[in-house]
Amino acid sequence: MTPSATALLLLLLPLGGALLTALFLRRRGEAAAWLSVGVAGVLLLLGLGLIFSGERFDRSVEWLRFGEFSLSLGFLFDDLAALMLFVVVFVGFWIHLFSLGYMKGDPHKARFFGGLSLFMFAMIGMTLADDLIMLFIFWELVGLSSYLLINFYFHKPAAVAASKKAFIVNRIGDFGFLLGIIWAYWAFGSINLNEIAVIIGEKPETIATGIALLLFCGAVGKSGQIPLHVWLPDAMEGPTPVSALIHAATMVAAGIYLLCRVSVVMTTEAATVILWIGVATAVYAGFCAIAQRDIKKILAYSTISQLGFMVAAFGLGTRLALADGGSITLGMVTAGAAAAMFHLTTHAFFKALLFLGAGSIIHACHHEQDIFKMGGLARSTPLTFITFTIGVLALIGMPFLAGFFSKDAILYLAWQVSPVAFYLLVLGALLTAFYMSRLWAVAFFGAPRSDGAKHAHENGPVMVVPLIVLALFSIVAGYDALYPEAFAAVMAAIPHPSGADKTLIVGVSVAVLVVGVLSALLFYRPGAAEDALERKARPVHRFLAARLWFDDVYNWYVAKVQQRLALVLSYLELVFISGLLVRGLAGFSGLLGLGLRSLHTGNLNAYLYWILIGLVLLWGLTIGLASGS
């Protein structure tokens, strides 16, 4: 089988699975579940085969032609895509397996697994896409499947609202993305990623900051960066495996992947904007996480924060690459892209692990999500406790675990480019250590504080095995020497501090870790029944819980501004028609003795007048501009 045929198969298998489920297995949840897990397993095997075959290719077929404009469908499979594909199929498979246990007994299992297959299809398509339009199409499909899965418990109004919010907020980002694609086509005359790189290589003046920023808009929406992050915490209304797969490990990282794919169009200005948005998000989300009680929301804010790290890494590395007249060329993996993708990979492992652990806890505690109502889980669910602890340690950057290495690479980049960014990111890391220790200490220790937690017990092997596998990877994924040859291009570009820098960065991150963990443990006490921050410093807590009022501003905008604008427009029509025109003109015509008015036909008269007035306006426009030219 040729590599591109394998790629096509990778795409068609999950689509076929989703279609089969939708058409025939809607009422047969068990069969749908096994089909979906089977497909995910085959995807894993095929994907690994493709990745380690060492084949890298760019193949496209013309899809449609319109005038001079042609649209092709194709695969661009380079090392970047290989790494992303590895994350998607690997994490995807274990989460599918976990879902078998988690969704046991749910009457709508078929819809769930159908949605997962659809998501795999879209995500793989996006990973392999070789031009912006195809990328955009799959990007939208990913959004659609995310929408369907957040909406899974649609009898809960919160889930419906969350799915709607996710869809709409993402569309705002996508709208910028679309404008960026249009602009890119206008500037480069092509939307194929490699062709764009070639064109930029030949004519560097075609590059524009606007294009990069508009494309970044899409990433802002999908990867939950400020100011479009508001949908991600709400998206936790979906089933927990969905949160793990889509809203932690893969889909939300798609924005980072997109940035790395289009790094050739970046300019220094764009990289600066990207960098600061990433830094701001990393710190902001860290603060938000402190005031959350819901285990999944804490993890969601943590995800946003980590995505901020990745975005910042990309911006930093791009600045570095472009500094002193440098340029990014076709096929080049910048230090920023490498660091971002490295962190993306390690994050995918430990965050999926954390979410699955959270899912396991929630499942064990009979759907209790408030960490202050848990407690004592270290004893009742030991395996989950151990794996979850590994996840926490990896996330907060415990030396020799995965997160430590990838975070250090990012901090090192920041140290080279901007000290301010460096200190802010260190603050972000401190916050990470703080809120994760809080979660860990409160949820696992002390006495059980609710009925659910009292009767908690360890889950079956279907759910525990994925935890163990992911925990293993959370330990080893940080050693780039362990990565096979297939990812060499990415791994070689990861920046590693050395000498004095190394001492500094390792020292700072270990110090931050110790300070964060200790202060959290001292402040919250393991097994606390209530939020110490809320009790001791109510204003601070309230401020953090308000999350800078982003949601309120958006609600206000939609309810007051947009709705108002539409209302004003309709009033205008109403006022113009019934007020001014009917009264005014009818009075006028009454004066003329035309006797045209009557209350019942008033509306109709108004329509007639409106048409005539419009015609006069158009006539004016025609004549006015015609004589002006």
Partner: protein, 481 residues
């Protein structure tokens, strides 16, 4: 007239003959279903005769008509639209116990008017076609005369269409005064002969003709009738109004404006651009406020024809093809939407508020799925035909450099998510609460189900593989300037 002429005119003659036959049959044997079957037969024979006409294309039937590939593509589209409307009407009228087959005579005559418009090459044919279309529509809008809303809509439509017909006629008079001829080709010659500007009479005339056509397309500022009449008219008639009666006008406008060069006619084209931009904005914004499905679709149709005007303004090689392609996608989606609404409407009133569709998926999954596909396509979601349609519009606009309009298109189309999504969410929410919403329980008739499913499949297929259809349309709609 030669035999070839007659063969080229076969589609028209089939539809006309069907009207006479239905009328004669009604005189002796009144049966709604029989009338519908005869109508359907006439339309299908007309469709079948298209290849015969194609073999003689391009053929001018002097002085009124020109049967070329452009016209035939539009004829096919209009005939298919009418077939769908016929199928929907049969069940709808039966529900009202309207044993009145006269509806089909009107439908056929209206369709004949639309066909004439699509092939018009002369202002007289233009006017004849438009009047034939409108006069029958007045009656069709008020056909269910036991409903006051329908009567009100019919009266409004009569008055407004009467006014715009008068404007159109005035425009024709001005053009005749300026050109001394009423053939489209004379207009082309006049344009070619006066590169630095046309006479004000001619420009005014063309503007008035455009106004007459714009009323049918319901673009701003001629859009005010749309929501009232969409809401009041019976659902199948609304389907006809929204598709066939607009599609044929797009065809005639494309042909009418084909000889014009945007660069030399800045005044006229800036007026048209204003109409297009205003339609997109007003249509999408006002749709946000509606709670009535028919009104939402009415306002969104204003926006959709704003989009089509963009392709129309782009002109050139790709404009007509993009507009025609968009029409195909719009036809299919709109027919499904109104077909489903007509089906779900109980006799006492139309099921047309968004609340009526709450939890539809749990009551009638098939209808909900069809409606979802239609709405996704209207919204322009990737992998549906609507996305491809919008894509080609944007491509055509980009080729012509209409950036401001394209930005308006993208921005206002984004607003569409808000109101389209409301319908979708309503349909999929509220599981188990079966009593919600007033929708009829009657199952779909097999004919209608077939038509609806075929249309839905078409939307998906075009969304995935638009190339064959697009290539065909591009080859067929190249208008000689």
């Amino acid at each position: 007239m030669t035999a070839a002429d007659f063969q080229a005119l076969l589609p028209f003659m089939c539809v006309a003959a069907a009207a006479v036959i239905v009328m004669l049959v009604i005189s002796f044997y009144r049966n709604q279903t029989l009338s519908a079957i005869l109508t359907l037969a006439g339309l299908l024979v007309a469709l079948a005769s298209l290849p015969i006409a194609w073999s003689h294309a391009p053929r001018a039937i002097p002085p009124l008509l020109r049967v070329d590939s452009f016209a035939l593509v539009h004829l096919a589209l209009l005939l298919v639209g009418t077939v769908a409307v016929t199928v929907f009407s049969q069940r709808y009228l039966e529900k009202y116990r309207m044993e009145r087959g006269e509806f089909y005579i009107l439908l056929l005559l209206s369709a004949l008017g639309a066909l004439i418009l699509a092939a018009a090459d002369h202002f007289v044919a233009f006017f004849l076609g438009l009047e034939l279309l409108s006069v029958s529509l007045y009656v069709m809008v008020g056909y269910i005369f036991v409903k006051e809303k329908a009567l009100e809509a019919a009266v409004k439509y009569l008055f407004l269409a009467g006014l715009t017909s008068a404007l159109l006629l005035f425009g024709l008079a001005l053009i005749y005064a300026a050109l001394g001829s009423m053939e489209f080709s004379a207009l082309a010659a006049a344009v070619a002969g006066a590169p630095d500007g046309l006479s004000p009479f001619l420009v005014a005339g063309m503007l008035l003709v455009f106004a007459g056509a714009a009323f049918k397309l319901s673009v701003v500022p001629f859009h005010l009738w749309t929501p009232d009449i969409y809401q009041g008219a019976p659902a199948p008639v609304t389907a006809f109004l929204a598709t066939v009666s607009k599609g044929c006008v797009v065809a005639v406008l494309l042909r009418f404006f084909a000889p014009l060069d945007p660069a030399s006619q800045t005044g006229l084209f800036s007026a048209l651009a204003a109409v297009a931009g205003a339609s997109m904005i007003v249509g999408n914004l006002l749709a946000l406020l509606q709670d009535n499905l028919k009104r939402i679709l009415a306002y969104s149709s204003i926006a959709h024809f704003g989009y089509i005007l963009v392709a129309f303004l782009a002109g050139g090689e790709n404009g007509p093809a993009a507009a025609t392609f968009y029409l195909v996608t719009y036809f299919a989606a709109t027919l499904i939407a109104f077909g489903v609404i007509g089906y779900l409407s109980p006799t006492d009133q139309e099921a047309d508020t968004v609340a009526d569709y709450r939890g539809l998926f749990w009551r009638r999954p098939g209808s909900a799925a069809l409606l979802s596909i239609a709405i996704f396509s209207l919204l322009g979601l990737p992998l549906t035909a609507g996305f491809m349609g919008k894509f080609f519009l944007v491509a055509a606009g980009a080729a012509a450099g209409l950036w401001p309009l394209l930005i308006i298109l993208t921005v206002s189309a984004t607003l569409g998510i808000f109101y389209y999504l409301r319908i979708i969410i309503a349909m999929y929410s509220g599981e188990g609460r079966k009593s919600e919403g007033r929708t009829a329980d009657a199952p779909f008739a097999p004919t209608s189900a077939t038509v609806l499913v075929l249309l839905a499949v078409l939307l998906i297929v075009i969304g995935i593989a638009p190339e064959p259809l697009l290539a065909f349309i591009q080859a067929a709609t190249t208008l000689a300037p």
